[in-house]
């Protein structure tokens, strides 16, 4: 099947606002719903909206739209959904629902949470244990889920003969950017020595190759572009949005590093959007694992296969100790999943919106107009979003 450029939703739907609680790498004494309520009421207040202005709700599978509606006293909604993360899924569904006329104004939220299965300290919290019980009977003989990224990181090193330092640059860059983001969980700069000496978790990936489990919430307003123009902030238009997956989408059966969900996303997003990598002012590649960022840089076309590390080196801002493409395009200026916190993409989206609305504070990219956000990994969750302002 050829890649379709059909995109009737182009620029018809927009983000009116985005807000966050900020993120903590320690257990908070709060429920996911409490965090969601804070982010949701903040974004509604900032946009000057009342509960009764909302007629759609969309969030992750872990906090139901019904609970959010009930908590916020949103009187009536005509659409809701709780698809799986990463978070472009929520965007695609909400924007499609608005464009189709199933609802007009959607409250979209995410709640990254330190669930008991993530860390030993989360497991010690009895409230977290009852919230998400640990599945019994472990099986170490698998590449399932997060382990699959380690497997393909190892394959990447084998095929392209690159040093571990190439992965480290992703981690260091995120941390250097997080220094400027008060919402971030991890703001203390790290060196290459810190990276190379970090605790090995699953060789070849260490603790600093993996995103930080956090408590926090992001919330967004998605509505028609026409309606967004009447609200306080500049509308951020959804120029194109896609998800991407291939048939061999099981971790250990993935065909190769040259044929997976990223490639479907890159091709479809480029076909549907009005701009591409040479036209953007800031870039948001997913970084739940360092290997994903290296692969995204290659797969959207910034550099060739196996060259992402060399690309980072040649686009390195030595003074700030972070990547700056062509000396002007920041990459994950909020610190990404590796340093702001493991938000499954909601943090990347919130920062993208704030940058395009001119609300990014000391991190503001001068006159930022266009961005690409490429979320998710190789197997069953690659996603892409092209956003711009008028």
């Amino acid at each position: 099947m050829s890649t379709s450029s059909r995109n009737p939703m182009k620029d018809q739907v927009a983000f009116a606002g985005a807000a966050s609680t900020g993120f903590s790498a320690h257990n908070t004494e709060r429920t996911p719903l409490s965090l969601a309520a804070e982010a949701c009421t903040t974004v509604l207040r900032e946009c000057g909206l009342k509960a009764s202005d909302i007629d759609g709700i969309c969030g992750p599978s872990t906090v139901s739209a019904g609970d959010v509606q009930n908590t916020l006293g949103i009187p009536e909604i005509t659409w809701w959904a709780n698809p799986p993360i990463p978070f472009v899924n929520q965007v695609v569904m909400a924007a499609s629902a608005v464009h189709a006329g199933i609802c007009d104004t959607v409250l979209v939220y995410h709640v990254p949470y330190r669930h008991a299965f993530f860390t030993a300290s989360a497991l010690r919290d009895p409230f977290r244990r009852v919230l998400a019980p640990i599945a019994g009977g472990g099986n170490p003989d698998t590449m399932w889920g997060p382990v699959g990224y380690t497997a393909w990181a190892s394959r990447y090193i084998h095929e392209y003969q690159v040093p571990k330092e190439h992965f480290g640059l992703v981690s260091i860059s995120d941390r250097s950017y997080a220094r400027d983001n008060p919402l971030a969980a991890m703001r203390e700069p790290i060196t290459m020595d810190d990276y190379l000496n970090a605790r090995m978790i699953r060789w070849p990936l260490c603790l600093l190759d993996m995103d930080v489990p956090v408590d926090g919430s992001d919330a967004f307003i998605v509505t028609t572009t026409e309606r967004a123009r009447d609200l306080p902030f500049s509308p951020v238009l959804v120029n194109a949005a896609v998800l991407g997956m291939v048939d061999a989408n099981v971790e250990d059966q993935n065909v190769s590093l040259e044929h997976h969900g990223h490639h479907v996303v890159a091709k479809a997003l480029e076909a549907k959007s009005d701009f591409w990598i040479d036209d953007i002012d800031v870039y948001f590649p997913y970084d739940g694992f360092t290997i994903i960022t290296l692969n995204w840089l290659e797969n959207v076309g910034f550099c060739g296969r196996g060259e992402a590390g060399a690309f980072l080196e040649s686009n390195w801002d030595a003074e700030q100790n972070r990547i700056l493409i062509n000396g002007k395009v920041p990459v994950n200026p909020h610190g990404g999943a590796l340093s702001e916190g493991g938000t499954q993409g909601s943090g990347h989206l919130r920062e993208a919106i704030h940058q395009l609305q001119g609300r990014a504070g000391v991190r503001q990219v001068p006159d930022a107009r266009r961005t690409l956000l490429t979320a998710g990994g190789f197997f069953y969750n690659a996603q892409g979003l092209a956003l711009h302002r008028e």
Binding site: G136, G137, G138, N139, P140, D141, T142, M143, V147, T150, A151, W152, S154, R155, H158, R199, M200, I201, R202, W203, P204, D247, A248, V250, D252, Q253, V255
Partner: protein, 149 residues
């Protein structure tokens, strides 16, 4: 096939590996130390994990077929920590490999590697299938053959 084991006992033995009706014959094979991979009897294509039809030609004529267990390490990691499992000690990093089976290009099976020090285990090494007993559960593993790929 091990027809002697009841569905109830089969499921309780492999519940931690996500057994369902589509993978039941594969797990019955483990009890007899046979590695059964689904093969289409019409187009001859193997697929993994077990699916109810052939992903290539949509035939429902799927035969769980014993493979030789010979292959090459395509993917390799070492767990420095991991889920609790009987007899698994992560103080020595635990190898997990996805082995490309000789029967078909790109057909992989994932298991641990035993019998060699970690520094001899690498992507590209040739392996062959073996079986261990893990708290009463027959578990497929691979061993290095020492042949170059």
């Amino acid at each position: 096939m091990s027809e002697l084991i009841s569905d109830t006992d089969l499921v309780s033995m492999f519940i931690h590996l996500g057994i369902d009706r589509d993978s039941a014959e594969h797990f019955r094979g483990r009890i007899e130390h046979r590695l059964l991979i689904n093969r289409c009897s019409e187009c001859g294509t193997y697929h993994q994990p077990p699916r109810p039809i052939c992903p290539r030609c949509w035939s429902t004529s799927i035969v769980p077929t014993a493979v030789s267990g010979n292959g090459t390490i395509d993917l390799l990691i070492f767990l420095h920590q991991g889920p609790p499992a009987p007899g698994v000690d992560y103080t020595t990093p635990y190898p997990v490999a996805s082995v490309g089976l000789d029967e078909q290009e790109g057909l992989r099976f994932t298991a641990t590697i035993i019998g060699s020090p970690n520094d001899e285990i690498a992507i590209g090494e040739r392996v062959t299938l073996d079986w261990i007993d893990r708290a009463g559960i027959p578990t497929p593993v691979f061993r290095l053959t020492g042949d170059a790929s």
